[in-house]
């Protein structure tokens, strides 16, 4: 059935609402990759097997990731007109006990994490209500992990079924697209994004509106929009969580973007290491085609557009837009000099907009609530929210979404709960192989593009790895250098040879063979690589070295002068 009008959409929405609020017992298992790794598939199977006999009227389905990945597996239980009750660390062996309680209309208290009365939503005029009750259970907004978050991109993550387009429509999905197409002006689309202040979430923070405007203004028989889902930053998984939990949000954002720039084709370039992302996306694309959101004359408009998936093959540098384009063209993913920028001359020489997953995920909500609303969130220079993957030596790990301008202290201590077993946090590594380490005495720093850059790190795509006193800064730096050295495409000499030499020095320092002269040389080579590399990857690779020598020179000196590793990590120095 093709959707042509708001009336059609409303009919599907009613169907979705009946899935979300079925008026009877419903159990949803959090089945993102991390949930599955924590045992959610066994929980699902056990529930499926047992529910048939004990609560045959109950509904069992899947949901995505609620974001608090350290507490997986999550299971949501809803009963008519009652709040949604969210269980954590619920394992296969807990299923019989859970069902015994549920059969009696009760909850298995020991495993309850929190409740959710309303489904917070920015896409609908009125929030959806689960129900009232359970005064003893904390509300999700009162739990330390969630109270300071502002979940716009992750708004329905872990609540709706990512495999159901109807549920996405139920929470206001595809209404923005329909409105945009009804209005019919692609200029207006570009204008709204420009006014919203949205900047690229992949790391560099370039204005999305400006990028779209360049491609929009060019005339060409073919234009492309590519979603960069090649999340190669090790230690970060925002995009995986976003797509696994809410794939239609990305698809809707991409179709609107495609309409805005006048694209004929859309491509999602996904990392091959994320099979579940590919599976969910493939299914979601089929559903979107079924309802006529993709294909010829979308929603009865004159706009025709489709999206297909291309899998990467394990290369970090392919996250760089020109390398990504080379990869799509069938070549090894080696970057090309810019300009020309892809927006003017990209895939097959045609205007090509490359946007990060999270950038596009922000698009539908901007059209639902308006550019003014969106630009009222965040800091002076950086609008909206940012999703971070908070991991490492911190108590609460998971995906965290906060308004731009939130301080590191709030993220790491208030949301993250601080160090594990009372250990002291030493630094946070932000931005992965392109970023750097920020020491704990600077944790009052607000998180936005400019502040982070000034501190020596970068916003990056949102990786935040907390390091405590048991982690060695020199070892972590060596780790990143070994990574970028291995991922260097080899095209330009500074990156290929410079990083290799830097790694050689770091190896010597970690082995107890380093000298202070070498440390000075390390800094010198780092500067050269930063200034003279061809692409963003090479230019940013020295950040980790430069930032750690700036803030943790004493740790390097202990390795060199005393031949000791204070954290006890470097094996040759034990």
């Amino acid at each position: 059935m093709k959707i042509r009008t708001f009336f059609d959409l409303e009919r599907i929405r009613a169907k979705g609402i009946s899935f979300l609020f079925p008026g009877k017992l419903k159990i949803s298992v959090g089945m993102g990759s991390c949930g599955i790794a924590a045992g959610a598939d066994a929980v699902y199977e056990k529930l499926s097997e047992t529910m048939k006999t004990v609560v045959p009227e109950g509904i069992l389905n899947k949901t995505g990731c609620l974001g608090f990945c350290g507490e997986e597996p999550f299971v949501n239980v809803s009963m008519p007109h009652k709040p949604l009750v969210i269980y954590h660390r619920l394992l296969e062996r807990d299923v019989p006990e859970l069902l015994e309680h549920v059969m009696r209309g009760e909850h298995y208290r020991q495993k309850v994490f929190c409740k959710m009365d309303i489904l917070e939503n920015f896409m609908l005029p009125k929030a959806l209500r689960f129900g009232d009750g359970y005064p003893d259970f904390p509300s999700i907004h009162d739990t330390p992990f969630y109270s300071k978050q502002k979940r716009i991109v992750l708004r329905e993550s872990g609540v709706i079924d990512p495999e159901s387009i109807e549920e996405y429509i139920a929470v206001g999905g595809y209404a923005s697209l329909l409105r945009v197409l009804e209005n019919g002006s692609s200029e207006a689309v570009v204008k709204v994004i420009q006014n919203s202040g949205l900047r690229g979430r992949g790391g560099a923070g370039f204005s999305t509106g400006v990028k779209w405007d360049i491609a929009h203004k060019l005339t060409s028989d073919l234009k492309y929009i590519i979603c960069n889902s090649d999340e190669g930053n090790p230690g970060a998984y925002m995009n995986r969580g976003e797509v696994e939990s809410d794939p239609h949000m990305l698809i809707e954002g991409m179709i609107i973007g495609g309409f805005g720039i006048g694209a004929t084709d859309g491509i999602v370039y996904v990392r091959t290491e994320y099979p579940l992302v590919v599976e969910r996306l493939r299914q979601a694309l089929e559903q979107a085609r079924y309802y006529g959101f993709l294909g010829k004359n979308i929603c009865n408009s004159s706009f025709s557009f489709d999206i297909h998936i291309i899998c990467g093959a394990g290369s970090f540098v392919c996250g760089e837009e020109t390398a990504l384009i080379a990869s799509v063209e069938g070549f090894p993913g080696r970057p090309r000099p810019r300009p020309p920028f892809p927006s003017e001359n990209g895939l097959a020489g045609k205007p090509t907009v490359v946007n990060n997953v999270e950038t596009l995920c922000n698009v539908p909500v901007i059209f639902a609530k308006g550019a003014k609303w969106y630009s009222s969130i965040g800091s002076e220079s950086s609008k909206g929210t940012k999703v971070f993957s908070l991991v490492g030596d911190v108590k609460h790990t998971g995906l965290v979404e906060v308004p731009m301008g939130t301080t590191l202290k709030e993220i790491i201590y208030d949301i993250g709960g601080g160090g594990i077993d009372g250990r002291k946090i030493k630094a946070v590594q932000i931005g992965g192989p392109s970023g750097g380490c920020i020491p704990s005495h600077l944790f009052d720093l607000p998180v936005d593009y400019e502040s982070l850059q000034g501190s020596g790190a970068i916003m990056g795509s949102g990786g935040m790895v907390v390091l405590d006193e048991q982690s060695c800064i020199v070892d972590v730096t060596k780790y990143f250098l070994a990574f970028t050295c291995g991922e260097s495409c080899g095209k330009c000499i500074p990156c290929r040879r410079g990083l290799e030499h830097m790694l050689y020095i770091l190896d010597a320092i970690c082995d107890g063979r380093g000298s202070m002269e070498q440390l000075a040389e390390l800094m010198e080579v780092a500067e050269i690589v930063r200034i003279t590399s061809l692409c963003g990857m090479g230019q940013a690779a020295p950040n980790q070295v430069i930032s750690t020598i700036r803030y943790f020179k004493d740790e390097y000196e202990v390795h060199i002068k005393e031949r000791k590793c204070p954290a006890g990590v470097c094996k040759s120095l034990l």
Binding site: S33, C34, I36, A37, A38, C69, G70, E72, Y224, E231, G232, N233, P234, G235, A236, Y237, R240, D265, I267, T272, E273, Y274, P275, H308, I310, C311, G312, A313, G314, S315, F316, S327, V328, E329, G330, F331, P332, G333, L347, A348, S389, V391, G392, D393, T397, G398, Q429, G432, G463, V465, L467, S471, V476, Y479, F480, F483, E487, C489
Partner: protein, 152 residues
């Protein structure tokens, strides 16, 4: 050209991004990129074999060597690294008697490293075939190997 290969080539021939999709599916189907198959793809698509070889060796997901029946992918992402993934990798290497990137003599197990499988909250993580073990420890390694030994 055998049917499996020609089906894959036909599906993507002429599409934007087709070549990468073909290589990915061939790798998935055969477990590696066989030399003969690469030659056939090159002639079918009229692409120089050198370009295919260049891609096949550039991307870490591609391999020109046959892999074992089961593959252990030790995640060496940042979060796993600081949670002692290197020790886990060493233990696998010691017990399987192979260096990372290689396959045991009986072709049963391959030991690979992977730059993050995105399960950073469950670090250190190990990918086995298509599943993932979270919160792995060095002590668990013998049991993990045992679980897959002799299975298909």
């Amino acid at each position: 050209m055998d049917k499996k290969t020609s089906d894959i080539v036909l599906r993507y021939k002429g599409q934007v991004g087709g070549l990468l999709c073909i290589l990915n599916e061939v790798q998935e189907t055969f477990g590696y990129l066989p030399k003969e198959v690469l030659k056939e793809i090159a002639s079918e698509l009229a692409v120089p074999l050198s370009q295919l070889f260049s891609s096949a060796t550039f991307y870490s997901a591609f391999t020109l060597k046959q892999r074992g029946k089961h593959a252990f992918h030790i995640c060496v992402g940042t979060s796993c690294h600081i949670k002692k993934a290197p020790d886990i990798l060493d233990e696998f290497s010691r017990l399987l008697k192979v260096a990372p990137g290689n396959t045991t003599e009986n072709d049963e197990f391959s030991l690979e490293t992977v730059q993050c499988i995105g399960c950073c909250s469950l670090a250190p993580a190990i990918g086995v075939d298509r599943g993932v073990h979270g919160h792995a420890t060095v002590d668990q390694v013998p049991d993990i190997i045992k679980k897959y030994k002799g299975t298909t």
